[in-house]
Structures are given as structure tokens and as C-alpha cells.
């Protein structure tokens, strides 16, 4: 995607010249002739870089810069002054307003393009460095919202596929909670939102879910619908999570009888591949988004399994597709692809490799959990 640059200058010739050269170099350029127009455009169209003239008739570049600094959505956009006044005082004033730099209007155009490219590259580098540092800290604190190895029970094997979006962690969270040799809970949630914000809250949801499950089990309660309601109740009253919502699929494996119970909160259907019929059956839960209502209306379904049956839990990132430039969320397309792969009788890694290949459209982190009866 090309980087967006906003040019602000009251002189139309100057604007057109710069626009042409920057566009030739692959940038998407918007031009305006006043600060007023610039602020209007920035309300709906955030830019990667702003280059502004200083001397303009109605409102000057310094005033523009001050206004940007007061706006939390706009203050971090890299900003350059473009000026014909190479007077130190002007430049000092500009740099004091946290402008990255200034460009003299007499600068040859080749140098201007080079400078713009350098600045944008430096911004990307700095962002990647910060993300890398955050990740290192998260690793050190052992903060994980997805298990890093598969789970092997007597009668079941549980595999996890989880793919982050452009290397950013996201809101999907997964957990296996083994109660004893007989019972294991499988958790898949998706905090609404993306990247770091959603990732951060996923730990709060996970903590609540783990404690609610443990407390219910201590009380002898193994009903997934009732456990869901307990989780829902605490999240509903937590002010910290007031504006944060999550979906949840909760599954309990009874490794002795081979039966599975399932409850969900605004999650996608649980999918069951019946090996004998080479077909996929959907189990839709009834529960509503965690914490939105005091009572989430959770139901519970018992899902029988025989050897070679496979159950799948998915997050919404798994069913985003793009065809001819049009994005689509389509469970049907995903089901078709999954069925095609399953009928080849291949292992989990091969299935995910084939479905989530580089051609698969992805805007979000996506997760797929397979529970296979062995």
C-alpha cells in the first residue's frame, strides 16, 4: 500500500509540482491550500506524512502544527515544514513544535524525495523496533494467550493453529484447562478489536475464564452453560471491561466416555467432521456476547464422537476472504475448503498449510482448533 502524504501550501504551482514528483515516486498525495482545508481532510483521512508551508494568508503553518499537536489522533503524524525562509528563527520555532525537520523550498526536488523516503523509512523502523521490544517483554513475562504445543489425551488429540496478522499479536486467545485425567476444558475466545489493544485484554478474559472454570469445578459443577453464565456475570459487572467485548467457545472433553459438551457466546459454529460420512455438521450455540447482558442466554449441547471424528473451533479471522478486490466474511467458503482437505485424509498441519496459505486473505489474527477422536 502506498504511503499517504498531505501537502499544504497556498501556492497552487508549488503544490502541483510537488504532487507530481511525489506521485511519480509511488506516494499517494493529497493537496490543500489552507490549514482549514487540511484539518477538514484529516478528520476522515489520516496521513502518513504532512508537509506544510509556513507562510499562508489566513492561518500559518505554526498555528497548524500547534493544532495538530493538540489532537491525539493527529499529533504523531510525522510533520515537515516547507519554507522559503531559511531564517534560523523560523526553523527554531518550527523544530520546537516537534516538526521532524524542515525543507528549504530551494532544495532540489531529488533531495526532497530522498528526504521524504528517509523519514518514512525511519518511522517504520522505529515502529518495528518498539513492537520487537514489547514482544521481548511479553515473552520474558511468559505472557501467552495461545498454548505452544498440542494436547494428547487417551481418546483425543487437540491441535492448534494460530496465525498472527502481520506479526502483531491479536485478540484471539486459546487455553487447555486439564482438571484431572477425565475432564479437560478447551477455550477459544476472540476479543473484539485488533492488534495490541485486543491482545492486552485477552489476558483479563483468560484470567476470568480460568478462575470461573476452577471455582465451578470445585463446587462440583461441570455444566459448560452454567460456567459460561458465571464468566458472563463477572465480566458484565467489571468496569475495566466496560467497553470491551469478547466471543467465547467453551468445550468440555470427557476422556472416559468420549463425550463432549459445548457452549458458546457469539462464537462461530462448532464444526464436526463425521469421518464415516465425509461431511461437516454445524453446531450453533445460542449464547450472546460475553458481558453484554446480565444473562447471556447460554445453552449446552452434547456432541457424541466416534473414532476419527474431528471437531473444529474457529475464530472469525479464519473465514475472511477476498475475491476480485472485494472482502467477504464467508463461513460457506471456509467449510468447502475444509471439507475438501479433510476428505484427502491428511494431517492437521497439512490441512492448515493448505487453507491458510499466502494467498488466503487475512486482516486479523485467526485460529483453528482441531479435537480429533483417536
Amino acid at each position: 500500500m502506498s504511503k499517504k502524504i498531505l501537502l499544504v501550501d497556498d501556492e497552487p504551482f508549488q503544490l502541483r509540482l510537488m504532487q507530481k514528483v511525489l506521485e511519480q515516486n509511488g506516494f499517494e498525495v493529497a493537496t490543500v491550500t489552507s490549514v482549514k482545508e487540511a484539518l477538514e481532510l484529516l478528520k476522515t483521512n489520516i496521513q502518513d506524512l504532512i508537509i506544510s508551508d509556513i507562510e499562508m494568508p489566513e492561518e500559518d503553518g505554526f498555528s497548524f502544527r500547534k493544532k495538530l499537536l493538540e489532537n491525539k489522533n493527529l499529533k504523531d503524524i510525522p510533520f515537515l515544514f516547507h519554507t522559503s525562509h531559511n531564517k534560523e528563527i523560523l526553523i527554531d520555532k518550527g523544530l520546537a513544535l516537534k516538526a521532524i525537520d524542515y525543507i528549504d523550498k530551494n532544495t532540489p526536488i531529488v533531495q526532497l524525495v530522498a528526504k521524504v523516503k528517509n523519514i518514512l523509512a525511519a518511522v517504520v523502523e522505529q515502529k518495528e523496533k518498539s513492537i520487537h521490544e514489547l514482544k521481548l517483554i511479553a515473552d520474558k513475562l511468559n505472557l501467552k494467550n495461545v498454548p505452544n504445543k498440542k494436547l494428547k489425551l487417551k481418546n483425543f488429540e487437540v491441535d492448534v493453529f494460530h496465525k498472527t496478522y502481520q506479526n502483531h499479536p491479536g485478540g484471539d486467545f486459546i487455553d487447555f484447562i486439564k482438571i484431572d485425567d477425565r475432564y479437560t476444558f478447551i477455550v477459544l475466545g476472540d476479543v473484539m478489536g485488533k492488534k495490541w489493544g485486543a491482545w492486552f485484554f485477552s489476558f483479563t478474559f483468560l484470567s476470568y475464564i480460568r478462575s470461573a472454570i476452577r471455582l465451578c469445578v470445585f463446587d462440583g459443577n461441570l455444566s459448560v452453560a452454567q460456567i459460561m453464565q458465571r464468566i458472563n456475570q463477572v465480566i458484565h459487572v467489571d468496569e475495566f471491561l466496560e467497553d470491551i467485548y469478547s466471543t467465547l467457545s467453551l468445550l468440555l472433553i470427557d476422556d472416559e466416555t468420549g463425550s463432549i459438551t459445548y457452549s458458546g457466546a457469539s462464537d462461530l459454529p462448532l464444526l464436526k467432521y463425521v469421518a464415516a460420512e465425509e461431511d461437516i455438521v454445524q453446531f450453533k450455540s445460542k449464547g450472546l456476547l460475553l458481558g453484554f447482558f446480565k444473562n447471556g442466554n447460554f445453552n449446552e449441547q452434547s456432541i457424541p464422537t466416534v473414532i476419527n471424528d474431528r471437531l473444529f473451533l474457529i475464530s472469525d479471522g479464519a473465514i475472511d476472504f477476498e475475491a476480485k478486490g472485494v472482502k467477504k466474511t464467508d463461513l460457506g467458503v471456509f467449510l468447502k475448503e475444509l471439507k475438501k482437505e479433510l476428505n484427502k485424509n491428511i494431517v492437521f498441519e497439512e490441512i492448515t498449510e493448505s487453507i491458510f496459505n499466502s494467498q488466503k486473505y487475512q486482516v486479523d489474527d485467526c485460529s483453528l482448533i482441531q479435537i480429533k477422536r483417536i
Partner: protein, 112 residues
């Protein structure tokens, strides 16, 4: 403008002009919804005709907006939802969370 508003029978009707409603607009949209529902018992209809694709961040913003409206004793409805978006709403039971109508007339009749 991404959002155009008009008032019909004391109900604020907002047309969301976004073919793709996603993470990039969700924060801005959440703030917009707060800004237009400052009065007590706000009545709001969101026209979603232009939206062809919606991601979970934007749905999150809609849910937060709804909660805010409900906490003020108001009402919020969605109209003209595209078939793909509606399928996602139904799959995730969000059709039970929001009031959804086929068109503006039905929504106004229900809300006014």
C-alpha cells in the same frame, strides 16, 4: 464525509458511507456515536446500506455504541444490512443484540 446525518420524526438517522468498515474507522466511529448521543434517551438509526464488509473491531464499536445508547434510556436500530454482513450477525447472534429493520420507514415506526 464518512457519516451523514439527518433527523426524521425526532430520530437521528446516520448514513455510514464506508464500503469496508474495519479497524481503521472503528475508533473514530465509536467517538462519533458518543458525540451524537449526548442527550437523554437518544433515538438513533444507523443506515448500513453502503457497508459490504465489516470486521470485528467495527462490530465492537457498534456494540459499545448500543450499550451507551441503552444506558441513557435510548434506542438504536440498524437498517439496510447487506446479506453478507447479516449472515455474520446471524451466525454470531448479534441479530439478537441489535434491533434490525429492513428499511428506514419500519425503523422510524418502531422508534418514534
Amino acid at each position: 464525509m464518512d457519516y451523514q446525518q439527518k433527523t426524521v420524526d425526532n430520530v437521528l438517522v446516520v448514513n455510514i458511507n464506508l464500503p469496508e468498515a474495519s479497524l481503521n474507522q472503528s475508533e473514530d466511529f465509536k467517538k462519533y456515536l458518543y458525540d451524537v448521543t449526548t442527550e437523554t434517551s437518544p433515538k438513533l438509526v444507523l443506515d448500513m446500506e453502503q457497508i459490504k464488509y465489516m470486521d470485528s473491531s467495527f462490530i465492537g464499536a457498534l456494540v459499545v455504541g448500543l450499550k451507551n445508547v441503552l444506558s441513557k434510556g435510548g434506542e438504536m436500530a440498524l437498517i439496510n444490512i447487506n446479506a453478507d454482513v447479516m449472515a455474520l450477525f446471524e451466525l454470531t447472534r448479534l441479530d439478537k443484540v441489535f434491533k434490525i429493520y429492513n428499511n428506514l420507514d419500519e425503523a422510524i415506526l418502531a422508534l418514534k
